[in-house]
């Protein structure tokens, strides 16, 4: 009844049974056949997704069972799980996992606490809160590579602003080569990452805070609940879905961290900031061991797939935010 195209259907004269073209036309009638229209609309996206993500991922997966070394192409061979076994029995791999976990837990943990605190601060509407709310988005918008560049320059051993500031304040007697100590470098990279990423938490939590019902707080205030009680008994439980979403997104991002490591330390010093994405990159593009590089990247993917699953479940089981 909605059809506006069928009027000029060409062949006429009372067909007894629909021929092929009529059946095709009916099949492609988007008014009656939603599936055909849907397929047409999603086809470009499906092709691009298949070509750019799914098939490459599967290809990488297959490659991870091969001994494939660009430096020795004649030795290419199927070796089953050997690449994985090599990593799982390799101390260095576990150290890398440990460093990646450290980076993830510490940076995401601090970002969450800082982000929630700042969101609550903005919600309390102190003097200048509107300006703060606008300004907070700036570090997030600064490109990751620029963020790394800024902090690398600030931490510079010879001419860095941090050394200059601490020296002028009399807190250090001589300049400190900040990024040359393995454990220290990791913490400084985390510091830089927090500056860039905590605004994301603030934005997400702020959005969630505006949806909280004010009546609850009024009731709690009447009942004599302290500020801390209101925070732990009302705000935190109500924010739980939003916090979970932020937690999963940031954990996935932090676990596959690459850009800021590349720009600030390149995995050094003495592998102090060697995280799993960076090791995978080195394995593949520096040592040209494609097979084991693929295995590493697949280990990252597996972990992220678990997180992605949790994330999708969260989105569908809880009415998250907004």
């Amino acid at each position: 009844m909605y059809s506006s195209h069928s009027s000029h259907s060409g062949t006429l004269s009372t067909p007894a049974a629909p021929n092929f073209w009529q059946r095709l036309r009916r099949g492609l009638n988007f008014e009656t056949n939603q599936t055909a229209l849907a397929l047409l609309l999603i086809l470009p996206s499906v092709i691009l997704t298949l070509a750019l993500i799914l098939l490459p991922v599967l290809n990488t997966f297959v490659l991870s069972f091969y001994n494939s070394n660009l430096a020795r192409p004649e030795r290419q061979a199927f070796i089953g799980l050997q690449n994985y076994i090599d990593f799982f029995t390799d101390n260095f791999f576990w150290q890398t996992i440990g460093r990646t976990a450290y980076f993830t837990v510490v940076s995401v943990g601090i970002e969450l606490v800082l982000g929630i605190a700042v969101a609550l601060l903005i919600a309390a509407q102190p003097f200048g809160w509107r300006f703060l709310r606008t300004a907070i988005i700036i570090p997030w918008a600064v490109p990751t590579i620029v963020n790394g560049t800024i902090w690398r320059w600030i931490f510079n051993a010879d001419y860095g602003a941090l050394n200059g500031l601490l020296f002028q304040l009399g807190m250090i007697e001589r300049y400190i080569p900040w990024l040359t100590h393995p454990a220290g470098a990791m913490n400084l990279v985390i510091f830089a990452d927090i500056w860039h990423s905590f605004p994301f938490v603030v934005l997400m939590i702020s959005a969630a805070l505006t949806t909280l019902p004010p009546e609850l707080y009024e009731a709690a205030a009447i009942d004599g609940a302290s500020a801390w009680q209101r925070f732990t008994r009302i705000t935190l439980p109500l924010l739980r879905p939003a916090i979970m979403v932020v937690l999963v997104i940031r954990t996935v991002e932090a676990f596959r961290v690459f850009d800021i490591i590349y720009i600030m330390t390149r995995g050094g010093p003495v592998n102090g900031t060697m995280v799993i994405s960076y090791q995978s990159y080195e394995e593949t593009f520096r040592y040209l061991r494609l097979g084991s590089g693929a295995a590493l990247s697949f280990i990252v993917s597996l972990f992220i797939a678990v997180m992605a699953y949790i994330y999708v479940r969260l989105l569908y089981t809880e009415d998250t935010i907004g």
Partner: protein
């Protein structure tokens, strides 16, 4: 939240605000100051917090290259152009392709609708490392290495799922009656999409587009691996290369940083409200 805070509390909150603003702006201020300092002045110990001879020479070199402009500055100018072209193309394509798919996911019934959408979102989270080797081989065989076309294709792998996801939830939030009314009036399904849905979705499309642009502008990993000359290099790669050179020109590097940060920061400030909405619709900035 509704209780009147005491004077002490108020002062504490104010101090927090000030400290936060310093934390946010001090690194950026230092980047800007470094960019307008001369190369020699940046190497003074202790540092000059306010440059004695501020100069815009670095900006002029990059934005208006002349015969004596250094190679690095010229390359950076080209990188800016590449970044703008690639990001704009990626944004446009992913908006068109993604919005059509999103409409199908939001409004039509077809097999595997739900699981298809979830698969697209889940795949989006995979790390770039896990797709990079096969894509490198394919693009090499297509002789597309070191081209902007390759970058546009590669960037679609993360902007497209993002656009589909956000626009689906946007379309779902629109009242179905609008379309139904148009179709009763004789509009076809595609007609209703074109004449009714797209016009009222402009805010959503703009916001999603801005976000996709930010994602593309920020991208580093693909650009690092798939470009090798100024023909296709983007801004993040150009900046990373400053650090790779033997004698680092901090002042030029800072200028590059400022220029790279201006477009996304300005966009984020203008579209702040939309961006928050995009984020809360389940977005991921990679």
């Amino acid at each position: 939240m509704t209780q009147r805070p005491g004077l002490l509390q108020k002062m504490f909150l104010n101090v927090c605000v000030i400290l936060l603003l310093i934390y946010v702006f001090a690194p950026l201020a230092w980047l800007f100051i470094s960019s307008i300092s001369t190369r020699a002045e940046l190497l003074v110990i202790p540092p000059h917090w306010i440059p004695e001879q501020p100069t815009l020479q670095n900006y002029a070199d990059i934005l208006f290259p002349g015969a004596e402009t250094s190679r690095a500055a010229q390359d950076f100018g080209e990188a800016l152009g590449n970044s703008i072209i690639v990001s704009a193309a990626v944004t446009l394509i992913s908006l068109v392709v993604g919005a059509l798919a999103a409409y199908a996911f939001a409004r039509l019934t077809f097999p595997f609708r739900q699981s298809g959408l979830l698969a697209i979102v889940g795949l989006r989270m995979l790390p770039a490392v896990s797709v990079v080797i096969p894509l490198y081989v394919i693009l090499r065989d297509l002789t597309l290495l070191n081209t902007r076309t390759a970058l546009v294709l590669l960037y679609l792998s993360f902007t497209l799922p993002f656009v589909i996801w956000v626009m689906t939830s946007f379309f779902l939030s629109l009242p179905r009656e609008l379309e139904d009314a148009a179709r009763v009036d004789g509009c076809s399904r595609l007609g209703a999409l074109w004449r009714v849905i797209i016009p009222i979705s402009t805010p959503g499309l703009v916001a999603t587009g801005v976000f996709a642009f930010l994602l593309a502008w920020d991208e580093f990993f693909f650009a690092l691996l798939f470009t090798s000359t100024p023909i296709a290099k983007t801004v993040p790669v150009a900046i990373a290369e400053f650090t790779g050179r033997n004698a680092i020109d901090f002042s030029a590097q800072a200028t590059g940083g400022v220029l790279a940060a201006i477009p996304p920061v300005v966009l984020a400030l203008i579209f702040q409200r939309y961006i928050v909405r995009g984020l809360t619709a389940g977005a991921v900035k990679g």
